[in-house]
């Protein structure tokens, strides 16, 4: 039986939002370098309320991890996207407060499709 052990103290993935922040930083830095830019001033992300990611924790993780990278001085703006859907029974769009949809709030039908709420995207960056 083989055992694969990840190194102790490996921060990547230690806290859930840390691994997401790592992915976010890697993507931002990669895009910045590929575009021939020197550094990042700001990053705007969209986080859906049903994505499972907590904005405060993500911000905290980002602020810690950005040190020593070309995103060191970058601010992170988080646009939180509500959970919304479209009901095929009553043909209407709707938004809910919860992180999930059980039924259409207008007609109670279960014939709906989730439209927004699962986003976990970088939208744009300001670079120099």
């Amino acid at each position: 039986m083989l055992t694969k052990k990840r190194k102790r103290g490996c921060q990547k993935g230690k806290m859930h939002e840390v691994s997401i922040a790592h992915g976010l930083l890697d993507l931002a830095v990669d895009n910045c370098k590929k575009g021939g830019y020197k550094g990042i001033e700001s990053i705007k992300v969209k986080i859906g309320k049903a994505s499972g990611v907590m904005p405060d924790s993500l911000l905290f993780a980002f602020e810690t991890l950005k040190i020593g990278t070309i995103a060191e001085k970058a601010s992170l703006t988080i646009d939180e996207v509500p959970v919304s859907g479209f009901c095929n029974a009553c043909n209407s769009y709707f938004t809910v407060e919860e992180t999930y949809i059980l039924s259409c709030p207008r007609c109670g039908s279960s014939m709906f499709k989730m439209e927004t709420g699962r986003e976990l995207n970088i939208e744009e960056m300001e670079v120099f």
Binding site: K4, C10, M15, H16, S19, G23, S103, L120, M125, V127
Partner: protein
């Protein structure tokens, strides 16, 4: 200057997951990723599955735990190939972790790989690792409010195995509510009621699994 990016943050993980999936597909292996809270019975369900499908489906297992090899040792004792991943603190398996061990299983000799994820009702649901499907295990002793408290797990899974049904008289859990709420979150969810202790329902679960593997 402003640069428009619009990229999914989990793109790197998803890319590695697709690469894993190709390796599994090329070897003709079906892969399930089992998730649950700690103590719901993932390892026991895997043991029961291996025993029930002995001689019918060739199984390999990837065990995921923060630390320790207890689960892998249990699986090793069933005689199937097994690899243990110790995440060292990460609360879920990701595609990169699977890619590091994928070639340590004799994939060409296997029909089915079962990945046992880290015990956690939150994070595993968010990460593709290269599986064909996610399976959620919920023991009825955890309570019947779990679907609405942890919706993503139920939405991301193709099947829900309700374990420890032999203990129903000792709890206030309403299995009907669990099923109703789960199906509302995910109308395509296949639900199995089992007891790994008594063996109730296990053959229905393994019969379905076998039909997917063929």
């Amino acid at each position: 200057m402003k640069v428009k990016v619009v990229t999914n943050i989990l793109e790197a993980n998803d890319r590695i997951a697709s690469e894993n999936r190709k390796i599994f597909d090329d070897a003709g292996v079906f892969v399930i990723n089992i998730m649950s809270a700690p103590g719901a019975g993932k390892t026991t369900l895997i043991e029961k599955t291996i025993n029930e499908l002995k001689g019918k489906v060739k199984i390999g297992v990837i065990e995921g735990d923060i630390a320790g090899t207890d689960d892998a040792i249990r699986i090793e004792n069933t005689g199937v190939p097994v690899v243990q991943i110790n995440t060292g603190g990460a609360c879920h398996l990701d595609a990169n972790m699977i890619s590091e061990v994928i070639n340590d299983l004799p994939l060409k000799d296997l029909d089915l790989v079962i990945i046992e994820n880290v015990g956690n009702l939150v994070c595993p649901a968010e990460f593709k690792v290269g599986e064909n499907m996610k399976v959620m295990l919920l023991s009825i002793t955890e309570g019947d409010d779990k679907p609405l408290k942890y919706p993503l797990m139920f939405q991301e899974s193709s099947a829900l195995v309700l374990n420890k049904v032999d203990l129903i008289e000792h709890t206030n859990a309403d299995i009907g509510k669990i099923k109703k709420d789960s199906m509302s979150l995910n109308p395509n969810l296949k639900i199995f009621e089992v007891s790994c202790k008594t063996g109730e329902g296990i053959s229905e679960w393994t019969g379905w699994l076998q039909s997917l593997v063929r």
